[in-house]
């Protein structure tokens, strides 16, 4: 047993340690023999004992040296030793991978020592900007995570971030497979109100997109680090202000080939489904909505007659009196997804390789219709290949080739999963069936007879027809190829290395749609014979329907990145002085093709100009005896976006650290209790040059004009044919515009207790200045058009917060092991300077002092009880139009007797959560392992969208939806709980029903003033906690599987998003105001992992 444990341990340590252990042994035995004389020279006695590891096994080859002398010995195979020492001697016991211990001899003759493993040494290299660094010497704030933690049954890696990464605020917005916009994440929260608050993502050092990150396979990841403070990000200069996520992929290791294979199958289903009212309630409420507001619109005629309602209840004929449950018509309860990952790694002294292949299938929850020969359900196939090869071409030269290929093949409905879901919630349940069955006399018809009803000049929305009428295929491919050369320059001077890297990658996507135009049928009143209960459906669009498919293709989108980097590194320790100097130069070029929108707007020229940046970064780090650390970094960056004289900027940072636990006094007194204590502080400047999300709007030093703008065209001439487009100024030139500047400071402490519990706490501040803002003091009378508003670097915002990681790792003698990973992140900000009008007379309107994601709106008090109540309340009609009993009553903040924009105040928490946390435990005993992980977030507010959820409202006309003939469905909760003339509940969930948007209760359509009526009425607390992950695994007995040439085999069952704890029940709370969209999924997963 003992030896087996040891074997396992040795095996798990890398060859590096084995090699070093031999050297140490040799060295120590030499020392021991040379010390023999001295032992006799002193008054000393024999001291003996056993050196054991954590499992109480004896450790062979551990060194025991008397401090201040060269006398020493090593333990034998059982860990026993014997040495001659005097009472005032101090024994220094050391072994590779364990902490040095100092033991005073005193009167003892037997000294048994249990070694304390040195976790710092086990994973001693940490990925930092442009290289690796000993973890003990890292003084900046960097979160690293065991990549196993990121292994979630999802094809989107970013869904695993929430709660697992200390310092990352993250939440999921939706569940549509293949959509990259499902997750929002921010390093240390949002710390700017500028255009971009997204972190810089680097995969193997190459700037990458969120999509690239989302598609990464956890199996292929060697390390995942998040750089949060100035020292860790300053080297990225003008791009590091929002934090940096740095991922490296696995490389091969010398040794025989290791194969690993993993298969997963999971079943996914919505975490919660939205309840809609049944069709009869829908009609009754629709009638109520029509009649309750007749006074203001006397001509509403669309009413469901009692005859229809009665027959619907009676179920007389489902095709004449339809009652459609679109949700179950379109969506399945669950779907299954598969994941296959295979990788092999190994190598010789000359070459090492890691090859990984992945195939993932994600399916949507759409129902598949048998009447079509094509499947319009969502299916996302992801293929990935990764090949990392390292070759030592000479003793000192290493060449690395990395190749990563990701291919997505997506098929799905024309509208996408979210689109179909959106249509589902806007389809009338009672006006037509999804389709009419074919009767014998219509058997000659080959197409599906979709149900519909004329609407204005078109038809109503039949989401079923839209789902099955065709399908969309898109394919995306990403190829990343990297060539890297590493040269050891020990010949010049010891510790000097150089490195050069060249990368080019291509991203391409294109898609095509194939669809027919559905034929719609309806049953006219006269075509129904109630006696015989027979009907005849007539074709509504015989000329515009089409049985055969037509084809359309998307404009291909291609982007290309070329990146070159060269670095020299000098890393050497002189006695107690460790020195590290790094100098990096890099160039990046990014080209994209224009999209159709840019071509249409005429901005393609500017949008497709290369995006470039370049810079030199450097670092000088010094440590004294691995106890005191000092580091200075700089990034000197240039970006093509700015005027020549302002193009480059210098971003310096400094930091210092003190590894208290390496001090002698600590080693003597506290090391057994507190095995590590590190204090660190950093301070510096970082920049953010991403000032605009519009690629056409980036050369602020140039004016942007449209010399041929048809909005400003005019026509002259008798025949009205002499036209000329006009000139518009989109932007006035401003050479002074520059990047956002972030002044970051970080104070951190790392404590490790009892070698098992590690706590890292970081407090940070980020003072962002130079935030580009639209100058709001410019009155309209100056005559600048909306899009030529003047901008300047005038905003400032201060962020601060804390991130905590608490990890526990313990192996017990019994074979039980427990690990626990817990994080807590709190990040908030406060706008300190903002370009806004002078609000000194109305201070509540000012955003100053509030979070950048703070919403402003009206305070809703209750619903109006009656007309008299409205007349006795501050005037709302003037601004909002129709106000009736049952509409929302707002508070008159400034007491001027009317509700207008002056009455808007900060309401609720910010829209991005300020707190993200996670906690969980994993434990294993013998072959069984179990883990559970909870995740949550707090201090977030969201708004139920009063337009999208407004029942019966013509979504096409009134909510700005581009979908024709669409009327919002009725949510069950609104049916149950709304103001009505019969039940005048002033606190009902939904105000008085209406078939139109009541501007008083919901924002007006105008896109230029969105959400002006945001109010507390629809505000909800977004905090929640959920059981994010639950896993139970079983590893087969090694003896048993060895017969099958396997090294390990593990079968596991896991579930994600199984439970959610929140007060909000309408839909999955994490989706916030976006609730009526493709839902977040929970999954139940079974997997098998084999390595051999």
């Amino acid at each position: 047993m003992k030896s087996k444990n040891k074997l396992k341990m040795m095996h798990s340590l890398e060859d590096y340690f084995l090699r070093n252990a031999k050297l140490v042994l040799l060295f120590l035995s030499l020392m021991a023999s040379s010390a023999t004389f001295q032992i006799y020279a002193q008054q000393s006695r024999s001291v003996s004992g056993v050196i054991t590891d954590e499992t109480n096994s004896g450790v062979p080859g551990a060194s025991i040296v008397i401090e201040g002398s060269s006398t020493g010995t090593v333990t034998d195979f059982d860990g026993k030793f014997s040495i001659r020492a005097a009472s005032n001697d101090v024994l220094i016991i050391s072994f590779v991978g364990y902490k040095k211990q100092r033991i005073k001899v005193g009167d003892q003759t037997t000294i048994n020592v249990q070694l304390i493993s040195d976790s710092q040494m086990l994973d001693e290299m940490q990925v930092v900007a442009f290289g690796k660094q000993k973890k003990s010497s890292v003084i900046s704030s960097i979160t690293t995570i065991d990549t196993k933690e990121l292994r979630v049954p999802s094809s989107n890696l970013t869904t695993s971030f929430a709660g697992r990464l200390a310092g990352v605020i993250s939440y999921q917005k939706g569940g549509d497979p293949g959509s990259e916009e499902n997750v929002d994440f921010f390093v240390r929260g949002v710390s700017t109100m500028g255009a971009s608050s997204s972190p810089l993502i680097l995969i193997d050092g190459i700037e990458s997109t969120t999509t690239d990150l989302a598609r990464l396979q956890p199996d292929d990841i060697a390390s995942f680090s998040i750089m949060k403070d100035a020292t860790s990000t300053a080297l990225y200069g003008a791009r590091g202000a929002n934090g940096v996520m740095l991922v490296t992929t696995k490389e091969g290791k010398e040794g025989k080939a290791k194969f690993s294979f993993r298969i997963e199958n999971n079943t996914s289903m919505p975490t919660s489904s939205v309840d809609f009212a049944d069709p009869v309630t829908y009609m009754l409420m629709h009638n109520e909505a029509t009649n309750t507001r007749r006074m203001s619109s006397p001509n509403l005629v669309e009413v469901y007659y009692p005859e229809k309602i009665e027959n619907t209840i009676a179920g007389t004929n489902p095709y004449v009196y339809p009652a459609v449950d679109w949700q179950s018509m379109l969506f399945k309860n669950s779907t299954s997804n598969q994941r296959y990952n295979f990788n092999v790694s190994g190598g010789s002294k000359v070459a090492r390789y890691y090859v990984g292949a992945t195939y993932n299938v994600d399916n949507g929850v759409l129902k598949v219709d048998g009447t079509n020969n094509f499947n319009s359900n969502i299916k996302l196939n992801t293929y990935q290949l990764r090949s990392n090869v390292n070759v030592n071409i000479t003793k000192t030269t290493e060449v690395i080739l990395r190749l990563g290929i990701t291919m997505d093949n997506y098929t799905g409905p024309i509208d996408g999963g979210n689109g179909i879901y959106r249509k589902m919630v806007m389809a009338s349940p009672v006006d037509f069936p999804a389709y009419y069955p074919k009767t014998d006399e219509l058997s000659y018809i080959h197409h599906v007879m979709f149900g519909n009803k004329p609407y204005l000049n078109g038809y109503m929305l039949n989401p079923y027809a839209d789902m099955v009428k065709g399908y969309k295929e898109t394919s995306k491919s990403t190829v990343v190829s990297t060539f890297e050369l590493k040269q050891d320059l020990n010949d010049i001077t010891k510790g000097l290395t150089a490195r050069a890297l060249f990368t080019t990658n291509r991203y391409g996507t294109t898609g095509a749609s194939r669809a027919y135009s559905p034929f719609y049928y309806t049953v006219a009143k006269q075509d129904y014979d109630p006696v015989a209960n027979t009907y005849k459906a007539t074709n509504l669009n015989p000329t515009t329907g089409q049985e055969w498919l037509s084809f359309s293709q998307d404009l291909p989108f291609i982007s290309t990145t070329t990146y070159a980097e060269g670095a020299i590194n000098y890393d050497r320790t002189f006695d107690k002085h460790g020195v590290n100097v790094l100098l990096v130069g890099y160039l990046r070029n990014y080209d994209v093709t224009a999209n159709s929108d840019q071509i249409a707007k005429g901005t393609a020229l500017i949008s497709t100009l290369a995006r470039r940046n370049m810079g030199i970064s450097g670092k000088i780090a010094y440590n004294y005896d691995t106890r005191l650390f000092l580091e200075a970094n700089f990034g000197y960056n240039g970006s093509e976006r700015f005027a020549e004289e302002n193009r480059f900027g210098l971003f310096p940072s400094i930091g210092g650290g003190w590894l208290v636990s390496n001090e002698k006094f600590w080693q003597d007194n506290f090391i057994r209790l507190i095995s590590k204590l590190k204090l660190k502080a950093t301070y510096g400047l970082v920049g953010n040059d991403n000032l605009s999300n519009d690629p056409a709007d980036r050369y602020f030093y140039l004016s942007d004009v449209n010399l041929s703008n048809n909005t400003y065209a005019y026509t002259f001439g008798q025949n009205r044919n002499l036209s000329m487009n006009g000139v518009s100024i989109n932007r006035y030139a401003n050479a002074d515009i520059t990047w956002e500047l972030s002044t970051k400071s970080n104070f951190g402490i790392e404590i490790e207790l009892l070698n098992a519990l590690e706590l890292q706490v970081d407090y940070f501040t980020d003072n962002r200045t130079n935030v580009l803002m639209q100058r709001s003091y410019v009155p309209t009378t100056l005559g600048l058009t909306d899009y030529s508003k003047v901008r300047a670097n005038t905003g400032s915002i201060k962020s601060n917060g804390i991130d905590i990681a608490l990890d526990y790792k313990k192996n017990f003698k019994s074979g039980l092991w427990i690990t626990s990973h817990n994080t807590f992140t709190y990040a908030t900000n406060k706008i300190t300077k903002i370009d806004e009008p002078d609000y000194s007379a109305t201070p509540w309107l000012s955003r100053k002092g509030y979070n950048s994601n703070q919403s402003f709106g009206y305070i809703a008090e209750r619903l109006f009880v009656d007309e008299a109540d409205i007349n006795n309340s501050p005037d709302q009609k003037s601004n909002f139009g129709t106000v009736e009993a049952g509409d929302i009553k707002y508070r008159d903040i400034n007491d001027d007797g009317k509700i207008d924009t002056y009455d808007r105040v900060a309401i609720g928490y910010p829209t991005v959560p300020e707190i993200t946390y996670g906690f969980g435990v994993s434990a294993g005993y013998k072959g069984v392992d179990f883990s559970i992980f909870f995740q949550g977030s707090g201090r977030r507010a969201f708004w139920i969208n009063p337009k999208v959820t407004a029942p019966f409202v013509n979504a096409s006309a009134e909510t700005g939806s581009s979908i024709a003939g669409a009327y919002n469905q009725l949510l069950q909760v609104y049916a149950d709980n709304h103001w009505s003339e019969a039940d005048r509940n002033p606190y009902a969930l939904w105000p008085r029903l209406s078939t139109t948007i009541i501007a008083n209760n919901a924002p007006p359509t105008s896109s230029s003033t969105p959400w002006i009526q945001t109010s507390t009425w629809f505000m909800r607390d977004g905090s929640f906690m959920r059981l994010k992950n639950l896993e139970l695994g079983y590893s087969f007995d090694k003896k048993l599987i060895r017969k099958a040439y396997m090294e390990s085999a593990r079968i596991y069952f896991s579930g994600t998003n199984l439970l959610t704890f929140s007060n909000f029940k309408l839909w999955d709370i994490e989706m916030g105001g976006n609730g009526l969209a493709y839902p977040i999924q929970k999954t139940v997963n079974v997997g098998l992992q084999v390595s051999f």
């Binding site: 619109s297 001509n299 005629v301 204005l456 000049n457 320059l489 010949d491 010049i492 150089a498 980097e565 060269g566 020299i568 130069g585 160039l587 020229l605 995006r611 470039r612 370049m614 030199i616 093509e640 004016s703 004009v705 449209n706 010399l707 909005t711 065209a713 005019y714 026509t715 002259f716 001439g717 008798q718 009205r720 000329m724 487009n725 006009g726 006035y732 030139a733 003091y777 410019v778 009155p779 309209t780 009378t781 100056l782 005559g783 600048l784 058009t785 909306d786 003047v790 009008p837 002078d838 007379a841 009609k877 003037s878 601004n879 909002f880 139009g881 207008d900 924009t901 007006p1004 230029s1008």
Partner: protein
């Protein structure tokens, strides 16, 4: 050894060698504002830019002069602002018909004009004459945009020169100027532009129609001065306490000043003289060769042709020549019994007519005797007036209206015995529709509103004035909905001679009521419409108490206003006139917009019973437009109009 170091350093730094060029990605010749004024040809696009801010007089939906009156019955589905402006009223948080803000803000238009004026000397290859004309055009447009803002908002800031983007807050935070100062500024600016403008386009109409001329500028000046002399702005006690933060009264206080009317009358007369000197006058539609039509049909066709005649029209003083599409929402459901009976035609894009006339507007038109139907003794004695919303009992034998109303089709008394402009400006259930490709008066299309199986129009009354008879429907290709409609395109007059004559009569009646010109200029309009003069008509046909209505100033004022409301109905003047006359509250405060709203399966009796389409909500504050509140936050020196 050293060599190696150099090699390594070079390898690392190589990428940075070309540093200077690497970040220069913007090629030369990327368009910048400097390109615009490099030569005359590219600068010309800037002249067009200046014109492009012209408020769309030719699009009734976006013209507050149409929508903010009781003339139109707008379908609910059309657009929020069109019906809401009278139904719920305007608001200050997101005002309707907002010309102050947005990308087509008139302030942006004024800036564009100033830019052109500033840059003209820098254009190297422009002739002195052309530069002078462009300068005058830009100056006039600047004045016009100020005028349009004035007509909605009343006192406004004056922006005569552009402020730099880097101006201080103090300079940017302009004040609203008093009414008289704004008017003087507008008039002064127009006056200064006059010499640079050509007197008539002088044959260049083919390419230049739509550009401002001297006589048109004078006519606009006349309109400005008449407006400034009108009740809303002249001696209006409601705004006596409208004082800005400097303590300045923004409205003239005290009694109405007759001098303002005198000044207006002079300007009108000068404009009339200038116009007539270049051959402008009242256009009379002449039957084209090869088309057979009786005079009644000719008169019926005339109102639309006053707007729609392109080549021989001598009435328009200034035309808006950019695209209009004004007809599309006015096309009614038309039946033609000579073709397949079920063939129906709609307006734009197959949608049912959404921009219909209100019954309120229809009531205004005179009887065939040229007096208001409520004042017509014939309508009283025959009880036509009281029974006007009853179906025509004698429809089966009636022959006298056969060109106007489908023979044998039962119409209402209301539609009978009206002046020609009634039939020319409106269409209704049973109305014949001459033209549309069938220029045969015996075999016309007709309008069917009652008991159709098509989605209903709003009021059953169509603005036929917008659809010249030369618009055609190709019955063969038009088997369904809108296919086959070929609209007869025309430029919409911003101001025309009849308008100017009536402005003159109005101003003269206020300043010099006994002047014979007052009645003379009204009679010119009436004569063209086939009516007898004011004196003869009232004398002969009016009820006893109204017979001498024209004799006193107040009676004559009513007659002039009524004439104006009829002659210029639906042309975008209605809302502005009603506001400056300050009668909007009488019409729209708790008023109603009425029409014949068809409900299926009802009787003809109930069809002709007027429906209240919506109740209107007009308040005192609506006389002046609300300034969007955000503007007041940005510029604390700006104050809101009273009541908002």
């Amino acid at each position: 050894m050293k060599k190696l170091i150099y090699i390594v350093v070079a390898a690392v730094m190589l990428p940075l060698m070309n540093a200077c060029d690497f970040l220069d990605v913007v090629p030369d010749n990327v368009a910048t504002i400097e390109h615009v004024f490099r030569d005359r040809n590219s600068a010309e696009s800037y002249l067009y830019t200046c014109y492009s801010f012209m408020p769309a007089h030719n699009n009734s939906q976006s013209n507050p002069g149409n929508m903010f009156s009781d003339e139109f019955a707008i379908d609910k589905s059309l657009s929020n602002n069109n019906r809401q402006i009278t139904e719920t009223g305007n608001n200050s948080s997101s005002p309707m018909f907002n010309v102050w803000d947005g990308n087509k803000s008139l302030w942006s238009g004024i800036r564009a004009c100033n830019v052109l004026i500033e840059q003209l000397p820098n254009i190297p290859d422009i002739t002195i004459e052309e530069a002078a004309r462009w300068n005058a055009e830009a100056s006039f447009l600047k004045a016009y945009y100020h005028w349009y803002l004035f007509s909605l908002y009343g006192p406004i800031p004056i922006v005569d020169v552009n402020l730099s983007i880097n101006s201080s807050d103090d300079a940017m935070q302009v004040y609203r100027e008093p009414v008289d100062k704004v008017v003087d500024y507008i008039v002064k600016t127009i006056d200064a532009a006059l010499p640079g403008l050509p007197l008539s386009l002088g044959g260049a109409e083919v390419t230049e129609m739509g550009r401002i001329t001297r006589e048109a500028a004078m006519a606009i000046k006349a309109r400005v001065l008449v407006t400034a002399a009108s009740t809303l702005y002249n001696g209006n006690p409601d705004y006596a306490k409208f004082v800005d933060k400097r303590g300045i009264n923004l409205f003239p206080t005290g009694e109405p000043k007759i001098e303002k009317w005198q000044r207006a009358a002079t300007a009108c007369k000068e404009a009339i003289d200038a116009c007539e000197s270049v051959g402008l006058g009242l256009y009379k539609f002449a039957v084209p060769p090869g088309v057979k039509m009786t005079d009644s049909i000719r008169m019926e066709v005339q109102p639309a042709m006053i707007l729609g005649e392109v080549l021989t029209n001598n009435e328009a003083i200034w035309l808006q020549t950019n695209a209009s599409g004004i007809q599309t929402y006015s096309m009614p459901i038309i039946f033609y019994l000579g073709l397949a009976t079920s063939t129906t035609y709609y307006g734009a894009s197959g949608v049912y007519p959404r921009e219909t006339a209100s019954l309120n507007a229809a009531e205004l038109f005179y009887s065939k005797n040229g007096v208001p139907i409520e004042e017509d003794s014939e309508w009283q004695t025959n009880n036509w007036y009281n029974n006007r919303f009853k179906p025509d009992p004698n429809f089966s034998t009636r022959k006298d209206h056969r060109y106007y109303i489908k023979n044998g089709y039962q119409s209402a008394i209301f539609h009978l015995n009206r002046e020609s402009r009634y039939y020319g400006s409106l269409a209704f259930n049973g109305a014949n529709w001459f033209g549309l490709g069938i220029n045969d008066q015996e075999n016309q299309y007709f309008v069917k509103e009652y008991n159709t199986d098509q989605t209903a129009s709003q009021s059953g009354l169509f603005v036929r004035k917008f659809v010249p008879y030369r618009t055609t429907i190709d019955a063969k290709t038009a088997n369904n909905l809108q296919n086959g409609i070929v609209y007869w395109g025309y430029a919409f007059p911003v101001i025309r001679m009849a308008d100017l004559y009536l402005l003159y009569a109005e101003a003269l009646n206020e300043s010099d009521p006994t002047n014979a010109d007052v009645i003379k200029y009204v009679d010119k309009i009436r004569e063209r419409a086939g009516l007898k003069g004011v004196v003869e008509s009232w004398n002969t046909y009016a009820t006893e108490d109204k017979k001498t209505k024209y004799n006193d100033q107040a009676g004559m004022r009513q007659i002039i206003r009524r004439e104006r409301m009829i002659e210029l109905a639906f042309e975008g003047q209605g809302g502005f006139d009603r506001r400056r006359w300050k009668i909007m509250d009488q019409l729209l405060t708790n008023g109603t917009i009425k029409g014949f709203y068809p409900v299926k399966l009802e009787t003809l009796d109930s069809y002709y019973t007027p429906d209240i389409l919506w109740t209107t909500n007009f308040q005192f504050r609506d006389y002046l437009w609300p300034i969007k509140t955000t503007n007041l936050q940005v510029n604390p020196n700006l104050i809101q109009n009273p009541g908002w």
